[in-house]
């Protein structure tokens, strides 16, 4: 579904991502973890097309997408959320989601129905007419997910959608991920909440200072000496 091959990103002489490669198979949930500043979000930007890698390439469903911008990648089934949320602040919550539904080719009327359906599924229907800017942060994070789903994406990149949520909300989000996965969607998930990662991800990639240091099942990576070292001093809610 997604292939990341030898991706390297340099910013002003600083290496943010260093020769990272891994695969995400269709239907999988893959966790991408690492300390702050490890290069996780940069890698997401490379995959979604917002950052052009210095070297390496990205394959979506087998196709090299190097020459495609974010819009074209979205139209090939890639959806994403932003860690620092990016709602269309002046628009209503519903209209935020309508935009994505329109890009799959739906007419405005259909798109509004699709969007309303997604809002209901995510428990946002009460806020349909609320201006996105005035939503509390937790709900804006959920709006990010709603928008990513609206395009009909088959592969979703979720960037810390559980940060700042309370345990009940985390559980709701995990349930949602599981039900979406049952529908055949594929996920690459950045998460700081290790408990959440352990529950949903069957495969975890760990990067530190731009370098992939470990890969495997959640159990395997948490035993990995380099991972332990990277996280040393950083208290995490390991299972």
């Amino acid at each position: 579904m997604l292939g990341i091959e030898h991706v390297t990103v340099d910013f002003d002489g600083l290496r943010a991502v260093d020769d990272v490669s891994f695969e995400v198979a269709e239907g999988q949930v893959v966790g991408l973890i690492g300390p702050n500043g490890a290069g996780k979000t940069t890698l997401f930007n490379v995959v979604s097309g917002l950052v052009i890698p210095t070297r390496g390439r990205v394959r979506l469903a087998g196709e090299d997408v190097a020459r495609l911008g974010p819009a074209e990648r979205s139209r090939r089934g890639l959806g994403r959320t932003f860690q620092v949320v990016k709602p269309f602040g002046g628009l209503s919550v519903l209209d935020n989601v309508v935009v994505g539904a329109l890009t799959r080719g739906q007419r405005v009327g259909e798109a509004r129905e699709t969007a309303a359906g997604i809002l209901t599924r995510l428990g946002l229907e009460r806020f349909a007419t609320t201006t996105a800017r005035s939503l509390p942060l937790a709900l804006r994070k959920r709006l990010e997910v709603a928008r990513a789903l609206s395009t009909g994406a088959r592969l979703l990149l979720l960037d810390e959608i559980m940060g700042g949520l309370n345990p009940t909300e985390v559980n709701e989000t995990l349930d949602l991920l599981e039900s979406l996965r049952a529908e055949g969607l594929t996920f690459l998930v950045i998460e700081h909440n290790m408990h959440a990662i352990m529950r949903v991800a069957e495969h975890v990639v760990v990067i530190n200072q731009g370098v992939r240091i470990a890969e495997g099942t959640p159990e395997e990576v948490t035993q990995h000496p380099e991972v332990v070292a990277a996280y040393l001093g950083e208290p995490h809610e390991s299972a």
Partner: protein
């Protein structure tokens, strides 16, 4: 583009209001029996069309242009030159001007779509100056600062009318055209995309919105409609020169009218024209051109600092309050 479906009472109020407004607009030539006021009323229409056309690329798509006089000039000069040199009717010249301006707008869109904030503003400003310098110095074509006159020998088939009231009705048609396009955009796929791009470009792109296409289309539509207003202005005044059609101040005033009224809405720019243009004229008549423009400057500062969404936002709030008070709106 959002909101609940209006209640029946609200709809009825709206329908009655619309009919009354339409009747009033059609009766304007009868109500304003002095040529001076009717003349001013037609200019309000010109500015309403201009501000509204500017709003399509600036208000919806967020590209604050300070070069729109260029498109106005293209519309005016194209029609006048085609008529004077080749005898082509300004009706047709208007279409040619619109297509030319649309192409220029698209070209400008292609080269500036990446620019943000002040860089975009300065690029449009420079573009406006390029066209102005050409209008002043390409004397073989434009006769430079001397300007061009439209000989009155046409009649309606040449967009030249004997009485002011006909200009008023044609001007109404022009405003209806621009308003119609604005309303269509608001409700269309393009409108959603433009507003999404304005609010957050990265998020919009990641949702599959194609930046270049959307911005270029918006720029082209906006430029073409501005040119149509330029042609209408030329046939109305029957004299054009760079100072009245391509000058930087004109670009500023187009933006000013839209901003004071309220950008990003279909009705805001029209409201802006209705308020700003007569105000300017009254001030000019009583105090002179300098003070009138000084007031424009102050007005612009006060509006952008205290009400960046323009007067239409305030009017809406008042309207809602009246609605609530009278029980029409809950």
């Amino acid at each position: 583009m959002s909101g609940a479906t209006p209640s029946t009472a609200r709809r009825a109020v709206r329908a009655v209001g619309l009919v009354l407004l339409l009747a009033l607009l059609l009766a304007v030539p009868a109500l304003l029996d002095s040529a001076y006021w009717l003349d001013l009323a037609v200019m309000v229409l010109v500015w309403a069309a201009l501000a509204s056309a500017w709003n399509i690329s600036a208000g919806y798509a967020g590209g604050l242009s300070l070069g729109h006089a260029a498109f106005f000039g293209v519309g005016a000069y194209t029609a006048v030159l085609l008529f004077n040199e080749l005898g082509v009717s300004p009706w047709l010249g208007m279409l040619v001007g619109a297509v030319l301006a649309g192409l220029l707008g698209a070209l400008l869109g292609v080269i500036t779509f990446r620019l943000k904030g002040p860089f975009f503003v300065l690029a449009t400003l420079a573009f406006g100056f390029v066209v102005h310098i050409l209008a002043v110095n390409w004397r073989g074509l434009t006769r430079g600062a001397a300007g061009l006159t439209l000989p009155f020998d046409g009649g309606p088939q040449n967009m030249l009318f004997a009485d002011l009231s006909t200009y008023w009705y044609v001007g109404l048609g022009l405003v209806a055209l621009v308003l119609g396009v604005s309303l269509w955009i608001e409700r269309s796929r393009l409108g959603y995309y433009l507003v999404a791009l304005r609010e957050d470009e990265d998020a919009a792109r990641s949702l599959g919105v194609r930046v270049v296409g959307c911005k270029v289309i918006a720029a082209a539509i906006s430029a073409a409609l501005t040119a149509v207003a330029g042609t209408f202005y030329a046939t109305f005044i029957q004299y054009i020169d760079p100072a009245s059609t391509t000058q930087f101040e004109l670009s500023v005033q187009i933006a000013l009218v839209a901003i004071v009224g309220g950008m990003g809405t279909a009705l805001g720019p029209l409201l802006g024209a209705v308020i700003v243009i007569p105000l300017g004229e009254v001030l000019r008549a009583s105090l002179g051109g300098g003070p009138a423009l000084a007031v424009y400057g102050l007005l612009l500062v006060v509006i952008v600092l205290t009400a960046p969404n323009g007067l239409i936002a305030g009017l809406r709030r008042v309207g809602r309050r009246v609605g609530v008070a009278t029980g029409v709106v809950r």
